[in-house]
């Protein structure tokens, strides 16, 4: 009898403990913010694009004489959603374009991850305000993008990776580190791999859960439709003349293919909420989702942005380490090269700080040539040659020097890769080579303190004992 009472109580206790532990593990375990940073970049670009397109018909959508009469919008909100808000309803027509430009600037900063905690909130305010000002122009894309923007804003974690905020933080730290070089001439800046945080995990978890809900509900709701059971629902999308870009009516001759696409997409939506959590199946589910949205975008190009927004959300299920390995090649390929720079040259030190701040993992290992025997790095190197130009010694032993080394480093580091791409063009490459050699030959170097006078008025902040070796 006693066990009948204590048994359930014990079970309830164990259940509560297990649920609490699972809850804490799910929501409060620090996670790598890399994928969240990438989500921010894609969401930011989509928001820029969306508001930019609104800008083509700015007064028609957001002006007082637009499709949605402000009075009707206010009435609509009063009746159906009294707590809804939009700053666009307060903007007079004359200020519409300047405010739009200001919003575009905020979205650009958000995309770049500059002042990301503030700009993420402002970006969300812009998204919601625009949606509320022009409710008649909305479709699925706006729902998805507003949701991701909400989570990026409310967790404050969007700038923890792939952001200028982090770049500047790493740059400042790298400047301090490079000024206090180790005696062996090697130093490491702030690690390229961002620290896992709980706030990043919260954002990723919320996006994951929301995504699961979207696919699940979309799939279950389709079960009401006969065409989804008969396997011909996809025909309704492919043959809709208002959506299509290509003539796909020939598919009518292959009903089994239409059946396969219909059943496949429905099965994906219904199974996604369960199977996406199974790690071994996750790549398969993500591939299927990419195919689904690519197929929708191909048949209905107007839904490309919707597909991209959904795929951005799906990045919450992709590991940060894997995303980084796409760029860095993974831990076994690092460092990709050792960079020999002149530690007595302030400009060279700043350049190295800049490069290490942009290093996504541990692609480069800076080595101050004034503090090491360069032949230990590579037997063919000489100190004189290294002092003339920066050298990069690759992991496989190949050496690049001067402007070619700069371009090579730019190609390795994603932040600088666009500039490296331009800089490697034939004519620009020749010009760059000359400019580099000129700058390198005339670069200032630290004043060497070897008498009492300069000891009172040091020429540069970095004048440690190692420098005397130069």
């Amino acid at each position: 009898m006693r066990r009948l009472l204590t048994g359930p109580i014990q079970y309830a206790r164990e259940l509560a403990t297990a649920l609490t532990q699972a809850w804490n593990r799910f929501f409060f375990t620090p996670a790598d913010p890399t994928s969240l940073g990438l989500i921010r970049v894609i969401v930011g670009l989509l928001l820029l694009w969306s508001l930019g397109v609104y800008g083509m018909d700015l007064h028609a959508y957001l002006g007082s004489s637009g499709w949605a009469d402000p009075e009707v919008v206010r009435l609509f909100h009063r009746e159906q959603s009294p707590a809804a808000w939009s700053f666009w309803l307060l903007v007079p027509d004359d200020l519409l374009r300047p405010v739009w430009l200001g919003c575009m600037l905020i979205l650009l900063l958000f995309t770049l991850g500059l002042f990301s905690r503030v700009t993420a909130v402002l970006a969300w305010v812009i998204v919601v305000s625009t949606a509320r000002r022009a409710p008649v122009s909305l479709f699925g894309f706006d729902q998805a993008i507003s949701t991701w923007a909400l989570y990026l804003a409310m967790t404050g974690a969007s700038g923890q990776a792939l952001s200028l905020d982090r770049f500047w933080e790493r740059y400042r730290q790298a400047r301090a580190l490079v000024a206090r070089r180790r005696s062996d001439g090697r130093w490491m800046g702030m690690p390229g791999v961002p620290s896992p945080t709980i706030s990043a995990n919260l954002a990723l978890r919320l996006i994951q859960l929301h995504l699961v809900l979207i696919y699940g509900i979309a799939g279950l709701a389709k079960l009401q439709g006969q065409a989804w059971w008969s396997g011909m629902a996809i025909w309704g999308v492919l043959a809709s003349a208002e959506f299509r870009e290509f003539d796909l009516t020939w598919l009518a001759a292959y009903p089994w293919l239409l059946n396969l696409m219909t059943h496949g997409s429905l099965a994906l939506e219904i199974s996604y909420p369960v199977l996406i959590w199974v790690r071994v199946l996750r790549p398969l589910m993500l591939t299927a989702v990419v195919l689904l949205h690519a197929g929708i975008a191909l048949t209905a190009p107007g839904l490309t942005e919707f597909g991209l927004a959904m795929l951005a959300g799906n990045l919450a299920f992709v590991s940060g380490a894997w995303l980084r390995s796409l760029v860095t090649g993974g831990a076994s390929a690092q460092p990709a090269g050792k960079v020999l720079y002149d530690g007595a040259c302030p400009r060279c030190r700043a350049s190295m700080a800049l490069l290490t701040a942009g290093d996504p993992d541990h692609l480069i290992e800076p080595v101050d040539l004034t503090a090491v025997d360069v032949t230990t790095i590579h037997p063919s190197l000489t100190k004189e040659a290294c002092l003339r130009a920066m050298h990069v010694v690759r992991a496989d032993g190949r050496i690049a020097a001067g402007y070619r080394a700069v371009v090579l480093l730019g190609r390795w580091i994603p932040l600088f890769s666009p500039a490296a791409l331009v800089g490697s063009l034939p004519i620009l490459s020749q010009v760059g080579d000359r400019v580099y050699n000129k700058i390198a030959a005339s670069r200032p170097r630290d004043f060497l303190c070897n008498d009492d006078v300069c000891g009172i008025h040091p020429g540069a902040p970095v004048a440690d004992t190692e420098r005397a070796h130069t």
């Binding site: 397109v53 499709w67 009707v72 919601v128 620290s195 001759a253 992709v318 380490a321 390995s325």
Partner: protein, 218 residues
């Protein structure tokens, strides 16, 4: 893809248990976790309730969703996410005919306007037509008069301002139908067939007049 599969080499994938060092570095105090947990429970309940409350739904689901109405409105959530449900249907097309008293030829505006670039603009116009079609049907049901649609009046006002000096804006609604695959199969199989013109009149319903709106009323 340089190596491995998604998540395969992730040392700290989302959801995995972290090392004690990382845990202690990033751990939040219990009170913070408690507060955030309460907020999470409320938020998740609100999102799920919003998605389940769209018709067809039970009275219970609708009642629960109403509890979160203010929160939904405040954060722009509460969507139903029932895309292509119950199944893909005909596409509503809105046509506006704008007449001028000074002899200028009648102007026709189609929503969505074919050939508009980029496609996102086209999609926005498609949304305009969709919303008008929904509001027109609601106005018909509620008042018996489709021209009482608020969005119809709003669109007419916009067109009246966009075309100064106009006399009247007339709005029409029609549906671009989805062709029967069997019929298409037969037409394509017919000797000498060059394809099917999905923009042929046969694939449109007859235009239904939403209403006539004098320009000087705005």
């Amino acid at each position: 893809m340089k190596r491995g599969n998604v998540g395969k080499r992730d040392p700290q994938p989302v959801g995995s248990v972290q090392s004690p060092k990382t845990e202690s570095k990033g751990n939040w105090p219990p009170w913070a976790r408690g507060l955030v947990s309460l907020a999470l429970v409320y938020h998740i309940a609100a999102i799920v309730a919003g998605a389940l409350a769209a018709p067809p739904s039970s009275t219970l689901e609708q009642t629960i969703a109403r509890l979160f109405a203010t929160y939904h409105q405040w954060i722009d959530q509460g969507y139903s996410y029932r895309y292509y449900s119950p199944e893909p249907g005909p596409t509503p097309i809105t046509t506006a005919r704008i007449r001028f008293p000074d002899g200028r030829p009648e102007k026709t505006v189609r929503l969505p306007e074919r050939g508009v670039w980029p496609k996102l603009r086209y999609q926005r116009q498609l949304a305009l037509a969709n919303h008008l079609a929904d509001d027109f049907r609601i106005a018909q049901t509620m008042t018996g008069q489709g021209n009482q649609s608020r969005w119809a009046r709003s669109y007419a006002r916009h067109l009246a301002k966009a075309y100064p000096g106009c006399a009247e804006v007339s709005l029409f609604l029609q549906s671009h139908l989805i062709p029967d695959p069997e019929q298409i199969r037969h037409e394509l199989a017919a000797p000498g067939s060059t394809g099917v013109d999905l923009d042929a009149d046969v694939f449109f319903t007859a235009p239904e007049r939403i209403g006539d709106y004098p320009c000087d009323a705005f």
